[in-house]
């Protein structure tokens, strides 16, 4: 199968390293990316004509960003690179793509999904008010457009991205009102042995924190979000939280960046029929892949945060490793030394990611405590109370059923931002584990598809 049609979806760290490895073996993949430029989310490149330097844009990650971009620039002319192209659906052996309103299909023998991750969100009462962003959204505004999401921004949630984005805002000169972490200090201490698997990265994290303290940004740990304050007309005006010791604190702001680490983008894998598995450590559904990135469907592979949330460094290793798995499956020679190097690096990162999950746990209990009036699904404006009633009055104890009854997860975001919290609300109301209520089935289109979309003749 020397002429195998290999398609990689996603030009972030995993996709680029995968393409690079395949190219080195003499294979020329098609690399499809939704974004206009390469780099994915974490190493998102600024639009043409913007001139900020690497340190300004990527801070502690500047060297890695530069290396990845340079690698991409070297291989760009040698592969079939298709930016600004959304894969909105697939059938066995064929991808459905749309680019600038034109629809086309791309046939594949092997498909490598490097689709990355999006923010994992937990609702707080009032989070539907204009001015509430996800951490990732706040980061995109800064990296891509060099703008802050507000004049005075609160960062709330948990996980490494909370500190990374907050410090990037500080560095860019934005006004950061506070960094509010739901995880208490004790969790971090408990996670230290695992986090020490990557002392360099742990040190980077501590540096970020030190930067925040130096800039005199209030950082509160072990908080509990109570409400995003404001009104529909003027949007966010503040946040109200309870502190670790129980007292209530109100902080004025006009924007909130919210997030609890990441969730994988698995829609395409789901539409391809790939099996999913429940990851206990992070308490969410991940794609079931073997060590090298083979999914349960023959010819479909995955790497990076889209299959396992392990961060950008791991994504680069996983991208190389999945390329080598494909080469093996195509009976092509593989550099064993290089392969083992990726495996060892990933083993260390697996350990570290367990530490992160322990240090910054997903705040499942918040879902149970959400007031009935709090909105869970922002697209369809469905409240926690309405969702709970599908359980108590209509007997829905499974997420797809609760979705059918309540519309939670039926909106524009296709459940990206509400289905995990929704599952927690359902599980709590039904008195079962979140694993038992299942996961929302993927449905096309992966992102909204304009009715103006027209077919181009092949």
């Amino acid at each position: 199968m020397a002429t195998a049609r290999i398609v990689i979806v996603g030009a972030g760290p995993a996709g680029i390293r995968c393409a690079e490895t395949l190219l080195a073996a003499g294979l020329k993949p098609i690399l499809i990316d939704e974004n206009r430029r390469d780099g994915g989310q974490i190493y998102r490149r600024q639009p043409e004509g913007f001139t900020r330097d690497y340190v300004t844009l990527y801070g502690t990650e500047a060297a890695k960003a530069k290396d990845l971009h340079q690698s991409f620039d070297r291989l760009r002319g040698q592969i079939d690179y298709r930016p600004d192209t959304l894969v909105w659906n697939l059938t066995p052996g064929q991808l459905c793509c749309v680019s600038q309103g034109k629809h086309s299909t791309v046939d594949y023998d092997a498909l490598i999904l490097c689709t990355g991750a999006t923010d994992r969100l937990m609702p707080t009462e009032g989070w539907q008010l204009a001015g509430t962003y996800s951490l990732g959204g706040a980061q995109i505004a800064l990296k891509s457009q060099a703008v802050s999401i507000g004049h005075r921004v609160v960062f709330m949630g948990s996980g490494p991205l909370l500190y990374l984005v907050a410090s990037q805002y500080v560095k860019a000169g934005a006004s950061v009102a506070a960094v509010l972490d739901t995880s208490p200090r004790i969790k971090r201490i408990g996670a230290l042995p695992k986090l020490l698997a990557r002392p360099g990265l742990l040190f980077t994290g501590m540096k970020l924190l030190a930067q925040l303290y130096r800039a005199k940004i209030p950082v509160h740990l072990g908080i509990n979000p109570l409400q995003v304050l404001g009104d529909a007309a003027s949007g966010v005006s503040g946040v109200r939280i309870s502190m670790a010791k129980g007292e209530t604190l109100t902080i004025d702001c006009d924007a909130v960046a919210l997030g609890y680490h990441l969730r994988p983008e698995t829609q395409l894998a789901d539409l391809a029929g790939c099996r999913m598995r429940f990851d206990e450590a992070s308490s969410q559904w991940w794609l079931a892949v073997d060590e090298a990135g083979r999914t349960s469907v023959s010819g479909v592979y995955a790497a990076g945060d889209g299959s396992k949330i392990r961060g950008a460094d791991a994504a680069e290793h996983a991208g190389r490793l999945v390329a080598m798995a494909l080469l093996e499956d195509l009976q092509q020679p593989v550099n064993i030394g290089l392969r083992d190097e990726q495996r060892h690096a990933l083993a260390v990162m697996d350990q570290f990611r367990l530490g992160l999950a322990q240090a910054f746990p997903w705040p499942a209990a918040q879902a149970k405590a959400l007031p009935d009036s709090a909105i869970v699904c922002r697209c369809e404006m469905i409240s926690a109370g309405e969702l709970r009633r599908t359980v108590s009055e209509k007997g829905a104890c499974e997420v797809n059923r609760a979705k059918a009854f309540s519309r939670v997860g039926m909106g524009r975001c296709q459940g990206r931002y509400c289905s995990q919290a929704g599952a927690e609300v359902i599980a709590a109301a039904a008195g079962v584990s979140v694993q038992q209520v299942g996961r929302q089935r993927g449905q096309a289109p992966v992102k909204p598809l304009s009715m103006l979309t027209e077919e181009v003749s092949p």
Partner: protein, 389 residues
């Protein structure tokens, strides 16, 4: 082994089975309903949601009228409104020579209760200014409308349960036997249910059971192709559907008060019967976009946010199997509604309950009898025998 007994056992918890359970309980019959997966999960929960009478086989309108009267009694009937709106239904065509066909339908005595009105030319575009210029005529049914299919079967099942019906979900039938005057249903988890009367409302799987009783039917399965747009201000209360003989031109849409426009029609997909899942074919969506731009030019800049399919049972004459078995006393069928069962659901439940508890029904259902396939089944058997010999 524990044996659970009732007057009637129903196999299949779609809209037909759930509604039948409800009306049987109203008539005082004890009922056990067995559903392999979840109530209303397949054809019943994923269809377009048309509560439409016009355009049906004329011989079905008596049943549709009976059902319509029940839809009108929501929410009192089952204490749930199912988001039913009698918004009006407009059946439009792209060709002048199709208008007389719409007129002939409107003039049929069977369609009298529908109060159909034919629109054409300037009057049509004045009344429905959003329709594209290619639309030449249409038949307006003021009393037809639409409802939310996701809610219907579960609501009927809950209402039946409140009246005392026993509803068993995640309960798959392994075997059905009739010994003496009694049917015994054994499920895959080893439980047994028995009754003197058995109703098969198993949709796309109905023929598996009818076949066991010597009544095979040529049932085929298709996946409907549905899409929904993001919400926009509510402006299109009328359900619109295209009347045409060209399959790609078949398109229908409805807007719900929260703003989304639901679209169906065009191609169908082949369901994966092994995993019991049906997908939307990408070409269906592209075709729907083409057809929608033609029918409703203003739809252009909206986004499709979700598509879905399901598993529907079809018979070659596009009519359901409904009524008593031709072979076995006490056995009844209501399945294979060929993609147009949603509006009929309450009426089918009511008629089947009447038939099962009284032995007859005042509504004509003769055209749907399973016996219409009997001769061809006998033929097939004869052919098989002659091939074997």
């Amino acid at each position: 082994m524990m044996l659970h007994k009732a007057d009637v056992v129903i196999v299949g918890g779609g809209l037909m089975g759930s509604a039948a359970a409800f009306f049987l309980r109203q008539r005082g019959q004890s009922v056990i309903l067995l559903e392999r997966d979840q109530i209303g999960q397949y054809a019943s929960g994923v269809n377009f949601g048309n509560v439409r009478r016009q355009g049906r086989f004329l011989g079905q309108l008596e049943l549709a009228n009976r059902s319509w009267a029940l839809w009108r009694r929501l929410p009192e009937l089952i204490d749930d409104d199912l988001e039913f709106i009698a918004s009006g239904h407009m059946r439009v065509c792209y060709r002048e020579d199709e208008i007389p066909e719409l007129e002939a339908y409107a003039a049929a005595p069977e369609a009298a209760q529908l109060d159909l009105k034919i629109y054409r030319g300037a009057e049509l575009h004045e009344r429905f200014p959003f329709l594209g210029p290619e639309v030449k005529g249409g038949s307006y049914a003021p009393h037809d409308g639409h409802a939310n299919p996701r809610l219907a079967a579960p609501a009927f099942a809950r209402a039946a349960r409140r009246l005392g019906a026993r509803i068993e979900e995640q309960t798959e039938v392994a075997d059905v036997q009739k010994v003496g005057g009694e049917f015994t249903v054994t499920t895959t988890d080893g439980r047994q249910f028995s009754a003197e009367r058995l109703l098969i409302t198993a949709g796309a799987w109905g023929q598996k059971l009818s076949e066991q009783f010597g009544e095979p039917v040529p049932l085929d399965t298709h996946g409907p192709q549905m899409a929904v747009t993001e919400p926009v201000p509510y402006a299109l209360p009328t359900v619109i559907g295209v009347y045409t003989k060209i399959p790609e031109e078949v398109i229908y849409f409805r807007q719900i008060p929260r703003g989304n426009i639901i679209i169906g029609g065009g191609y169908r997909s082949k369901p994966d019967m092994l995993n019991r899942r049906a997908y939307v074919e990408p070409r269906s969506i592209l075709n729907q976009m083409d057809q929608m731009r033609r029918l409703l030019p203003g739809v252009g800049n909206l986004n499709i946010i979700r598509v879905w399919s399901g598993i529907e049972g079809y018979l070659p004459d596009s009519l359901p199997v409904m009524g008593p078995s031709g072979n076995v006393d006490g056995l009844y069928y209501a399945f294979g509604f060929c993609g147009h069962g949603f509006q009929l659901g309450p009426g089918v439940g009511d008629v089947m309950a009447e038939l099962i508890s009284t032995g007859s029904t005042s509504t004509s259902i003769e055209p749907f009898s399973i016996r219409r396939f009997a001769s061809s089944a006998e033929q097939r058997t004869t052919e098989q025998r002659s091939r074997a010999s």
